[in-house]
């Protein structure tokens, strides 16, 4: 029995049945409830897989602590944070079972005064990187990238007030890039993306694409 369940045909068959069902519903609208239920199952299975992720996380960091690897102290911080936040959530989080006002206050403190500022801090990197990436990391190694960078500068001058003050032509020129060049290439790329997506699905249905099963993709067998 175990050997039968380990056969790769089983997950491929499940994939085929489920995806055909969802596709049939998309094209005909015949089984909306079944499709919704199936997607719900996928989410439930995903939730179960948290156990695997947490196991991997703890194994990785406990090994680092045990071996006193470089920067192992960060692993200690992570594990302590996981347990403190877990405990705080169980006692005073949404649906927490302790009923002690202090535990809810502590949970709120962690959420509002520790986690939220940290998350905002990491997010702020995105804006900072976005504006400085050209100076810090950009690699203008081909004509394509060179053209893209020139267009980027024109578009920045198109939206920045200083651009129009320098030369009024940045307005219509930038708009032309956005409305004609950008929209046309965007649609072209989107058609390509849709085509590629379906090709991967066909390969997976035929059993050639097996990376999602943890196997290297192979040719016909």
């Amino acid at each position: 029995m175990a050997l039968v369940l380990k056969r790769r045909e089983i997950p491929i068959a499940i994939f085929a049945v489920v995806s055909l069902l969802l596709l049939a519903d998309y094209f005909t609208g015949a089984w909306p409830d079944v499709a919704k239920e199936t997607i719900g199952w996928a989410i439930i299975l995903w939730m179960f897989s948290y156990v695997l992720g947490v196991t991997s996380l703890f194994r990785y960091h406990l090994t680092r602590i045990q071996k006193r690897s470089q920067y192992w102290a960060y692993s200690v911080v992570l594990i302590v944070c996981v347990f403190v936040y877990l405990l705080s959530g169980l006692l005073g989080g949404v649906g927490g079972f302790s009923g002690i006002p202090a535990s809810k206050a502590f949970n709120d403190f962690l959420w509002l005064n520790v986690l939220a500022p940290l998350q905002t801090g990491i997010l702020s990197y995105v804006g900072f990187y976005m504006y400085t990436i050209f100076f810090r990391g950009a690699r203008t190694r081909s004509w394509d990238v060179g053209i893209m960078m020139i267009v980027t500068i024109i578009l920045m001058l198109n939206v920045a007030p200083v651009g129009m003050a320098l030369w009024e032509g940045f307005g219509p020129l930038g708009d032309w890039f956005k409305d004609v060049i950008n929209t046309g290439s965007y649609r072209g790329i989107m058609i390509g993306v849709g085509v590629g997506l379906i090709a991967v699905w066909v390969r997976a249905m035929l059993g050639y694409e097996r990376a999602f099963l943890g196997e290297l993709s192979r040719g016909a067998e």
Binding site: F27, L52, V200, A211
Partner: protein
Amino acid sequence: MYLKGFELFVFAALCLLVYLGIERAKRKPPEVRPFPALEHIDEAVGRAAEMGRPVHFSTGLGGLHDEWAPVTTAGLAIMGEVAKACGKYRVPMRYTTVLSYLVPIAEDLIKFGYDTAGHVELYNPDMVVYTGEEQRAMMSAMMGYIMREKPAVNMLFGATKYETINFLGTGAIAGCMQFGGTPRLYYLPVMMVTCDYCLLGEEVYAAGAAVTKEPSQLGSIKGIDHFKIFVLGWMIVSLILALAGLDWFGKLIKM
């Protein structure tokens, strides 16, 4: 109930062309366009071996549970080949993910890659790092890792979101050789300016097949190319007929 007739027709036509491409390739291996990003993977991993530094790979925030599943699958397929190259050159690799269910899949793929290269003893489960189901945790984990360990090669293939900016920006600052690929339009420019080699748009999907160099897989790329010619032809005919005042051909799309 309803019937999306035109969409179904296009979908069926594309599936048929991909299938025929695969079948034809079994008889006669096709020649497909080269993907520089894939052709230089071996060279990049060899560079990592010379420098004595690891290779870092990620598929970004996209997973197998949403509309981006095919691109994550293609990213994982590329990772399998990278693992094989890492096994060949005896280079350690690390895969960072934000999705728990990708952990066992990635572990299997990396182990399989090292095994295929004949060095399964180099495989270590700690090569797969789960950062928790939180994008910002993943971003900080990857940025910290890149600045501390300075991997020789940094790769990002998948349905990436705004972690792309921090991930590849940090890699560029750390001097990593960078490879990237995503069909997500917002992040294509970032990849273009920060990566040494990148796959744009549908190239990522095709790369999942091209990386194997198997004729049957390459046949699917031929099928895609034939479909694109079909779409282009349809657009040109629609345009000519519309200019001639006959718009019934273009209206077929609304069926």
